[in-house]
Structure formats: C-alpha cells, structure tokens
Symmetry: C2
Subunit: 191 residues, 2 copies
DNA sequence: AAAAAACGCAACAGTGAAGTTCCATTTAAT
DNA sequence: ATTAAATGGAACTTCACTGTTGCGTTTTTT
C-alpha cells in the first residue's frame, strides 16, 4: 500500500515497475480482462511482487495510463508544434504519435479518469493539436470554414484507424503521409 | 442449455429475449465487465431467467452481436446501395447506419467471432460498402487514384467518431452531411 | 377450464481472481 | 562486508460471479 513515492526505489525495483507496465500493455491489449497473474508472468515476476509495487489493479491501470500519456505528449512536443510550419509540424507529429500509439494502444485507449494526471496530459496534447490547427487555418492550409473541433476529432480517428493492419514495421512516414493527405483532401476526385 | 430454437417460444419468452438483449447493450456499453445479474436487473427479470434463455454469458454476447449486425445490414440495404446514385446512397446509408450504431454501440463494437453469423453479416455490409464506393469511383465522384480499401476504413472511422458527443437527438441527416463532406473533401482550403 | 410453458425466488456448488501475510533467499546500495 | 531493500513462493482469506436445481406461482396457449 505505498503507491506514493516516499523514497527513491532501488534499481531492480524500478526495472520491475517498468516491466510490469510493459507487460500490462501487452497482455491487456490482447485481453482487457486478463488477471494480475497473467501480467506478472508476462513481466517475468511473481504476482506478489506486482502487488508490492501497486496497491491494486486500478493502480496499475492508472500508472499505465500516465506513463503512456507522458510518452504521447513527448511525441507531440518533439514535432515542434509551436514553431515549425503547420504542415511540417502536422506531418512530424503524426509520424511520432503513430509510433507511440502503436506501442501503447491499450493504455492510450483507456478512458482517463477525470481530474487525473493522465487526463491533464491528454488535455495538454489536445491543446497542442488545436494550436497547430489554428495556425494552419490562419496560414490558409485549412479552410476558414473548417470546424476545428470536428477536425481534431476526425484527425484522432484517422490516427486510430491508421494503427490497424499495419504489420508493425510499415514506415511511419508513409502512413503519416497518407493520413495527412486524406485529412486535407478526402477522397473526392480533383475539381 | 437450449440455445437452438427447438420450438417457437411463447410470447412472453420472446419479449424476455428482446429485453435481455436491449438491457445487455445498455449495461455492457456502460461497463463491459458487467455481471449477468446487472443485465437481468436492467431487463426487469430474474437472473435465472436469463440463464434459461441463454446457456452462458457468451451466448448472450453472440446473440447480441447477431441481432445488431442484422439491423445494421437492414439499415444499409434501406439506402438502396445498388440502385440509387452513389452520392445519394452514401448519404442515406450514412444516416441510417448512424441511427443503428447509436443504439447498438457496444454490440457492433464486439469483435465478430470468425465464421460466425455476425461475421457473415458484417462481411455483407462491407461488400455493400465497397460496391457503392466502386460505383462512385466509376461515376467520377471519388478520385480514380483513391485506395478504396483505405477509403472504406476511413469511412468506418468517421462513422464511429460521429457517434460521440451527439446528445442523441441531433439530426442524423445533419451529422451525415458533415461526415460525407469531410470524407469527400477533407479540411484543406479550397484550391 | 385445462395443460403447457415461463417466471421468480431461494439455495447451492464450483470457480477464479484479488489482496494479504509470512519467511527464506537474492540483490542492490554504502 | 554489512545493511537494507526486493524478490519468490506458499498459504490463506475474502469475495463476486457463474451456472444449476427445485418448487410454487403466474401467464400464455388451445
């Protein structure tokens, strides 16, 4: 029952925490109802060790959500959303996000508890996204009529869909290019 | 243990079956791990009655998936996908599908068991969808370069996204119009 | 009105997972 | 090398859910 970081963990304990979170992602992605035992085994640990690091199942899920959300925010910031030209930023962010989302599909699909750290991080990501879109609209890349909130939701949906069917190693830049092209122009014949 | 329809069910029994499926959709949409007890209560029935109509939990899920998939296929066929002009068909199908999907979000999100009736129905829906898109491409509505499989996936994703945040009574035709517009033209400024 | 079917309710057994405790052993920190 | 922390493993309790059975009562069918 010590979820709060009282003193720094020992090196092996920190490895265990990471192993648990990575195992949880793998196992829960395959079966959201998987047991703590399955997670522990996948992490190469005993079940009691998992319970020593996380008070209960929910604590694992919370930590998993926060960990993944942090990496997502980093992926976005690495695309320079505030300084790069909008089209470049959107491309880079998309490619970065696709990689993170592929590795943390389950964790990033978890509904963030309102008020939680994970929710705060997701809101941060969303703010970056909206800022880029607003700049893109001012630069004439996006239509002046575009509903940016709807645009953001569509963009999220395209990212989610782009994760399917790609056997891991498919070039993220290629997928991102197709995604952005669809986002901008849709499927209608050129006018 | 009588999942197979031996003799026609009595009137009240058939009402029970429908009540169970509708309750299962509501309850499981809110919590996918909900118990049979919760489903029974939501259906206004005793738990044993649920077990009398469905051998086990999986049988409920299967029946739920099939029921929803049937309605989905009906919604698609009501849009005349083979005869109406492609743009009209796409609009109508979209509006119809949105309504069905809104009422059966959970059931239609279930991964269809390979080889099951539900899987067959979903494949049928997909075939209708591809047929419309091919006609649309021949008619010059969709770009000759468009990857129709990717287009279909994007279309599905847009449908899924359009279900969120709409407080039920939002006009399906309005939402469908926005969806189709985005699908065709994206968000870029007009060239 | 009589027969058949469906229902509610209570009770029961079986299962599996969550969470805890204790202790011997291993591993990291100083 | 000593100390403190972390781990594995077994055992145990608790608990919720599943699936089943039996029986008296209600509802539908004919």
């Amino acid at each position: 029952m010590e979820p709060t970081t009282k003193r720094p963990l020992r090196a092996d304990a920190e490895r265990s925490v990471r192993a648990i979170l990575e195992a949880a992602e793998r196992v829960l992605a395959a079966d959201p109802g998987a047991s703590m035992e399955q997670i522990a085994t996948a992490a190469g640990l005993a079940r009691t060790t998992v319970h020593r690091r996380f008070a209960n199942r929910q604590a694992v899920l919370d930590a998993l959500a926060v960990s993944a959300a942090r990496q997502l925010l980093d992926a976005v910031d690495d695309g320079r959303p505030d300084t790069a030209p909008p089209l470049v930023a959107i491309h880079r962010i998309t490619a970065n996000v696709l990689q993170v989302k592929y590795s943390w599909t389950y964790a990033l699909g978890l509904p963030p508890e309102p008020g939680s750290e994970a929710a705060r991080l997701h809101a941060e990501v969303q703010a970056r996204c909206m800022a880029v879109f607003q700049r893109a609209q001012r630069d004439g890349l996006l239509s002046p009529d575009a509903d940016l909130d709807w645009a953001r939701r569509v963009y999220y949906a395209l990212v989610g869909e782009s994760l399917h069917g790609n056997d891991a190693n498919a070039d993220p830049d290629t997928i991102a290019a197709r995604l952005v092209d669809t986002f901008l122009h849709g499927f209608a014949a050129a006018r």
